[in-house]
């Protein structure tokens, strides 16, 4: 338990940022049906596989339609 306490100051911000990013991106994918490239299924797969911020960032750069 003490060990976890030592990690908490870093663990909490990481979890908060990554989870909020994941939720934001998932909601964004489900609300839109036009993407720069790819389909909804593809982006859901990418985001869920690369959950720890790589997937969501890839979606935001290459998938999110800016219109």
């Amino acid at each position: 338990m003490d060990e976890i306490k030592e990690y908490l100051p870093m663990l909490i911000p990481i979890v908060v940022v990554q989870l909020s990013l994941l939720v934001y991106v998932l909601v964004h994918i489900l609300k839109h049906d036009h993407y720069k490239t790819g389909s909804r299924a593809l982006w859901l797969a990418v985001v869920l596989i690369g959950m720890n911020f790589v997937g969501p960032v890839i979606y935001l750069i290459f998938g999110r339609d800016e219109e």
Binding site: Y7, M10, I14, V17, L21, F53, V57, I61
Partner: protein, 256 residues
């Protein structure tokens, strides 16, 4: 030069509405936390691997992690942050040219020089804010768990990285001034990065090239002093100015 203020406001507005600012903010924050986080986890990872390694004859006794490991991770993360930023900004000029959204503004009398300078300023401001945010987070956590004073030149090496980023932004602006698509801009900027890295492998040349600025490891370990970087700093700054000036000339002549 007129038009720099309205273009600047427009760029800031665009950064916020297209969520570029948010994406970059998250990337820089996460990379800032990742550096000390990975350093903190290193002993745990070795512990998990130790059974396998024992069978291969490698015996691991207590692994010591210091502030240096955290800063080395920080240095390794920076190229990723820079590349993500360059990818996000590769379409900042070409998108407008291909959609023709600049025509109304330019024909109303705002200058092209102002447009280019406003975009470059916004890119540089983003890089500056992001990099120092990343630096601040790593600095805080590293000092929290270890001691920053054992590593030398952390602020100076980050300044060098900042200058290298500015140089890459100028390169991107230069390619944007004549390329017709964002893919070409990205290819050109990537080629410059790649060629610089290759040329940097040649020891005598690397002292003069901008890549010298990305060598933070030697600074952390004090095997190089600050004065060894000055030639590279001056050359990088001069190259950036030249790139911006030629971008201004080229943009002035291109058809929008």
């Amino acid at each position: 030069m007129n038009g720099i203020v309205p273009f600047f406001k427009k760029e800031i507005c665009e950064m916020i509405r297209t969520k570029r600012l948010m994406v970059l903010g998250i990337v820089f924050t996460l990379l800032g936390i990742m550096a000390p986080w990975l350093a903190k986890l290193t002993p745990k990872m070795y512990e998990m691997l130790s059974d396998d390694l024992d069978q291969q004859g490698v015996i691991i006794k207590d692994v010591k992690v210091t502030a240096l490991d955290s800063w080395l991770n920080f240095e390794k993360n920076l190229p990723m942050a820079l590349i993500i930023m360059l990818i996000i900004f590769c379409s900042i000029f070409t998108n407008e040219y291909s959609k023709g959204t600049l025509i109304p503004l330019i024909t109303k009398g705002l200058s092209r020089t102002g447009m280019v300078l406003a975009k470059v300023t916004v890119m540089m401001l983003t890089w500056t804010a992001g990099l120092w945010l990343c630096f601040g987070i790593t600095c805080f956590y590293t000092d929290f768990y270890w001691d920053n004073s054992t590593v030398s030149g952390i602020a100076f090496s980050t300044f060098c990285w900042w200058l290298f980023g500015v140089f890459m932004i100028c390169t991107e602006t230069f390619f944007s001034s004549f390329a017709s698509s964002s893919a070409q801009v990205l290819a050109g900027t990537g080629a410059v990065y790649f060629i610089l890295m290759l040329a940097g492998a040649y020891k005598k040349l690397s002292e003069l090239l901008p890549v010298r600025l990305t060598d933070s490891t030697s600074l952390y370990k004090s095997s190089l002093s600050k004065s060894d970087y000055f030639t590279a700093i001056i050359i990088t700054a001069a190259l950036s100015v030249v790139l911006i000036l030629s971008a201004l000339i080229k943009t002035g002549k291109r058809s929008i």
